[in-house]
């Protein structure tokens, strides 16, 4: 494909083995600090351009895989344009496969203000909002699951103590906590904030 993609300028070197390869810890720190706070915006972008909602999570996963692959070689200087260019290129190649002409996506990147990259501002917006997101994540959990998550994360009890207190097995506690973790991550990172219509 003629497309120039941000992850395609890998001149045959194996990822992670080049002289400037990043350590896993560096990649992880960058991913958590720079990439994850963009997730809500990324999901919004994907939703607008891809009809099939059930594919979105896989789509996001693919984007993260590409982003990490590139970051293992060299951490991109500016995360936001990099993530969104990756997303756009993946979208375009996917849409081509389905014979849909993707004109508006290119324009959309500008509309989102992605060209104007202001990481510090993005991060502080995210930080200000995170407690509210966490609270609505808790509200969204089924009652027993919520109880387990509260006992674990807020009260700091061990799995055994929680099992005892809730009258369920430790394995069920583990399942509740794991479910809770998934929902928390989706709300903290994935959910689009409807600024303007906050309750």
């Amino acid at each position: 494909m003629a497309e120039k993609t941000p992850y395609a300028n890998n001149d045959g070197a194996k990822p992670g083995l080049g002289p400037d390869a990043m350590t896993t810890d560096e990649v992880k720190a960058w991913f958590v600090r720079e990439v994850l706070p963009l997730e809500a915006m990324l999901m919004h972008f994907l939703q607008k351009n891809w009809r099939n909602r059930s594919d979105l999570e896989d789509f996001r996963q693919d984007i993260y895989e590409h982003v990490l692959e590139a970051a293992e070689r060299e951490i991109p200087e500016r995360a936001k344009p990099f993530v969104f260019t990756t997303a756009r290129n993946l979208l375009i190649s996917r849409l081509r496969k389905e014979n849909i002409v993707p004109i508006e996506i290119v324009a959309d990147l500008d509309v989102l203000g992605i060209a104007a990259d202001e990481p510090a501002q993005d991060r502080s917006l995210f930080a200000r909002d995170v407690l509210r997101r966490l609270q609505s994540a808790l509200d969204r959990l089924p009652p027993r699951c919520r109880e387990a998550v509260i006992l674990k994360r807020i009260e700091g009890l061990s799995q055994r103590e929680i099992a005892h207190r809730m009258g369920i097995s430790e394995r069920v506690v583990g399942n509740y906590v794991a479910d809770g973790m998934s929902v928390l991550a989706d709300m903290v990172y994935g959910e689009q904030t409807d600024s303007g219509s906050r309750t």
Binding site: Q135, R153, A163, A178
Partner: protein, 323 residues
């Protein structure tokens, strides 16, 4: 370039990552677990992305501690008088073999815990005339709060013969499911996320709450077998014969009726520390009929060798069965 794969791929990976993360925070994390996680993370970037994402969100959730005071909820006051007390009966003949019933007085004195080991079988006689029979590898708690007849099945399988008392319903809780007796004999089996209730006599009601907190209620009649998971509740009907076979463990046997070798092995393994393992899937599909004592591993192996011509190899606690 990676292309679309099965629709649930990312969701599966996320679920696996969440399992690991929950284990890391369970309070029982160890070196073996760490190695397992490292190996899993090393497998793909998708694994790394999913795990880091959950971990970061969980770290962010630390902020929720500011909410601590209003959310912590005191437990109910411990009941002083026990409504039902328990006498452990001399169990059936084969009970002595393995796993004596463990009795633990729980910290809060609100419940008492009874457990059997692998291969264990115990009968509990309650002071109200009811009887609970515990099958292999089972854990059950009995509430001691005044005026309540409540039992929690945390693990395994039990058979209940409940003395009916309209003013004090007998309630068995399993996870988010509750069985309320309306004068009955029934068995309850918990296996992973699956709950199986088989009603032999009388009437009972199963109340089930699924993972979306939706409530469902079903009344069971004799012969009904209800299967509840976190996402579904289904009801099947069994003949007297099939039901009595399902409850063969009360007589110390397992009954196979055109059962696949895989299912039969899983059933036998419930009762024995020495585990049978089937090496190839073509073998797993063979079917067999017959009644085996629950501890008859040597006999079972003999059938595998003599009838199916399979080869058997002992390896530590495991016995491998293959072509």
């Amino acid at each position: 370039m990676s292309e679309a794969s099965a629709p649930s791929r990312a969701a599966d990976i996320k679920a696996q990552a969440a399992c690991f993360l929950a284990r890391v925070h369970s309070g029982e994390w160890n070196e073996a677990g760490r190695e397992e996680l490292d190996a899993w993370l090393a497998q793909s970037r998708a694994h790394k992305a999913a795990y880091w994402r959950l971990e970061a969100a969980w770290d962010e959730a630390e902020r929720l501690r500011v909410l601590r005071a209003p959310l912590s909820r005191p437990e109910t006051t411990p009941g002083k008088r026990s409504f039902i007390s328990v006498k452990i009966a001399a169990a059936a003949a084969f009970a002595a073999i393995v796993g004596a019933t463990t009795f633990l007085q729980s910290r809060s004195a609100q419940t008492r815990t009874y457990a059997t080991g692998i291969g264990g079988h115990q009968v509990l006689n309650l002071s109200d005339g009811s009887k609970i029979e515990l099958n292999t590898d089972t854990m059950l708690r009995i509430g001691s709060e005044a005026g309540q007849r409540q039992v929690w099945l945390d693990r395994g399988e039990a058979f209940f013969q409940i003395h009916h008392d309209a003013s004090h319903p007998f309630i068995v809780s399993v996870g988010d499911h509750r069985i309320t007796d309306l004068g009955t004999r029934f068995s309850v089996r918990q296996e992973g996320d699956r709950l199986r209730v088989a009603l032999v006599e009388g009437k009972a009601r199963l109340d089930s709450t699924d993972m979306w907190s939706r409530h469902q209620s079903v009344e069971l009649s004799p012969g009904d077998v209800a299967v509840a998971t976190a996402t579904s509740l289904s009801l099947l009907r069994k003949s007297d014969k099939a039901l009595s076979e399902e409850l063969g463990w009360r007589r110390g046997v397992v009954v196979f009726d055109r059962t696949s070798l895989a299912d039969a092995v899983a059933e036998i393994n419930r009762y024995n520390a020495q585990k049978l393992i089937i090496k190839d899937s073509s073998v797993a599909k063979l079917t067999l009929d017959g009644t085996f004592p629950v501890h008859a591993v040597p006999e079972f192996i003999e059938v595998a060798q003599a009838v199916f011509g399979l080869s058997v190899k002992r390896q530590g606690d495991h016995t491998l069965i293959s072509k």
